[in-house]
């Protein structure tokens, strides 16, 4: 809907009203399986971010090559700029896709499950990268995620959707046991460890009420 691919059934979507619609949005789709034999190097994909949607043959110029190099460096992808995108690891591909989305200097960056299928280390690196772009380049980042724990420290606002209900607000307002438990319809804990916030769902061993019901079910 934000990209203009679907019409809202009611209301309007306004994005950065002073800039012209779709061009001010960068988009990184959910990870898909890429063919390793696709003859597209990381730097080719980033260059397509400039004008890949236009008809005609690619243009080459020193200024474009420099812009691509700068973007690759900004996401830490210069080291594998000449490798085929399909042969990169999940975290490396995510960096290149973010570079592709950001090279046209959008105001808004949309990411669909950017941390899915990434290992813990790569996920942390991508989060740090996004956080840096938000602060340094004034890009708003809107993303969807199933696993929210690693994202909690950097998010400003959350729309938490679960079991057909939603809660929205700042991270402080939404990520509370009372709000999330109500949303899910069963008990959710919010744990603070070493300054980090973790959301843990399901019956914990310290929860006497749930233990009692479990026991009641086992004993006939």
């Amino acid at each position: 809907m934000i990209l203009g691919l679907q019409q809202p059934s009611g209301g309007t979507v306004r994005i950065a009203p002073d800039s012209s619609g779709r061009r001010s949005i960068g988009y990184v789709p959910q990870k898909t399986q890429l063919a390793p034999d696709l003859p597209l190097r990381a730097r080719d994909l980033v260059a397509l971010g400039i004008d890949g949607h236009r008809f005609g043959l690619p243009r080459r110029s020193a200024a474009r090559a420099r812009a691509v190099d700068e973007m690759l460096e900004a996401v830490g992808a210069l080291g594998f700029a000449n490798a085929r995108v399909g042969q990169l690891s999940g975290g490396e591909q995510q960096r290149v896709l973010i570079a592709h989305a950001l090279i046209s200097r959008p105001r808004l960056l949309l990411l669909d499950e950017p941390l899915a299928s990434l290992d813990l280390g790569s996920a942390q690196e991508i989060i740090a990268l996004l956080d840096r772009f938000v602060r340094e380049r004034g890009v708003a980042v809107l993303l969807s995620a199933h696993e929210m724990n690693p994202l909690l420290p950097v998010m400003d606002r959350i729309v938490y959707i679960a079991a057909g209900r939603a809660a929205s607000g700042t991270t402080e307002e939404v990520v509370r046991p009372s709000v999330l438990s109500k949303l899910y319809g069963h008990h959710v804990d919010v744990v603070r460890v070493h300054g980090r916030v973790l959301v843990v769902a399901g019956p914990g061993s310290g929860d006497e009420e749930l233990l009692a019901t479990d026991a009641a079910r086992v004993v006939p």
Binding site: P29, T32, P39, D51, G52, H53, L57
Partner: protein, 292 residues
């Protein structure tokens, strides 16, 4: 070099025509074919070769040239596949299968009628396996125009096609007219298959479309290089095939020209196998930063 080029090769009119038309069609097929392979449309390309058979044999039946039948049939078949196929991968496969089946059925009818009408002998052989040495020089302008049209389309579509091949989702989100790009590419593919049908025949046109690009893609990292290597491989295979076919008159015991199509396809298969060996060689070498 006398042992390689048998007498008269360079002064023979039909050989000149074969070299020009064979060369042009091989290059068009290879360039269009790189996208066919990376987009996973090889099955669609093969179905179009069966549509060629139906179109070519049908055209002969009503007194037209096979080339006009190839072009009309393939454009129609491509349009049918685009219209029937949905966005989903499986929908496209089913649409391709339906068109392939229908075309093969028509080909069975037309080839039977051609063969029994008696006015055109050996047409089935020509349609299916090519007739590069009996091509008239008068069709060169038509071939050149079709080649320019196919390559022009490819150049026009280049960037959105690469983006769409990489990720249909990103292309869609960035405002690429996805259906239009797919349909125009199908038109370029139809023209490439029609062109290679007149040189090595409808049955073997898939070899020119898929073989050189498949070999090139094993050896290159970027799109530009893949296109260049594919075009050179297709051109080399076709010209060498014509030469060997011409020479075969002198060394085959029965003093006959063995079919060009056989030699072209044999060379393409050898090139593909060689590209596999070459890639193994590349892998053994310590790879540069950034990997192979």
């Amino acid at each position: 070099m006398g042992w390689l080029f048998e007498p008269g090769f360079f002064s023979n009119g039909p050989v000149h025509v074969a070299l020009v038309i064979g060369g042009v069609t091989a290059v068009v097929s290879a360039l269009v074919g790189v996208f066919t392979v990376v987009r996973g449309q090889s099955f669609g390309g093969h179905a179009l070769s069966d549509v060629s058979t139906a179109g070519g044999s049908g055209a002969l039946l009503i007194g037209l040239s096979p080339l006009s039948g190839f072009v009309a049939g393939d454009l129609l078949g491509g349009a049918a596949m685009e219209a029937l196929g949905t966005e989903h991968e499986r929908g496209r496969d089913v649409a391709t299968g339906i068109v392939l089946g229908a075309a093969t059925g028509l080909a069975a009818l037309f080839l039977y009628l051609d063969a029994t009408s008696g006015t055109t002998t050996g047409t089935a052989q020509q349609i299916l396996f090519g007739s590069i040495f009996v091509l008239q020089p008068s069709i060169i302008p038509v071939v050149a125009a079709l080649a320019c049209l196919a390559l022009g389309l490819l150049a026009l579509l280049y960037r959105p096609l690469v983006l769409h091949t990489f990720s249909p989702e990103i292309a869609h989100a960035r405002g690429v007219p996805v259906r239009l790009v797919g349909a125009l590419y199908m038109a370029a593919l139809a023209m490439a298959v029609a062109l290679s049908s007149i040189t090595i025949g409808t049955v073997l046109s898939t070899a020119l479309l898929i073989g050189p690009p498949a070999a090139a893609l094993r050896l290159t990292r970027g799109m530009g290089r893949a296109l260049l290597v594919a075009a050179l491989t297709g051109l080399g295979a076709t010209w060498l095939g014509i030469l060997l076919s011409y020479d075969s008159f002198y060394w085959s015991p029965s003093r006959r020209f063995l079919p060009v199509s056989f030699f072209v396809v044999a060379i393409i298969v050898v090139a593909y196998l060689a590209s596999g060996l070459a890639r193994l060689g590349l892998r053994r070498r310590p790879s540069a930063p950034g990997g192979a």
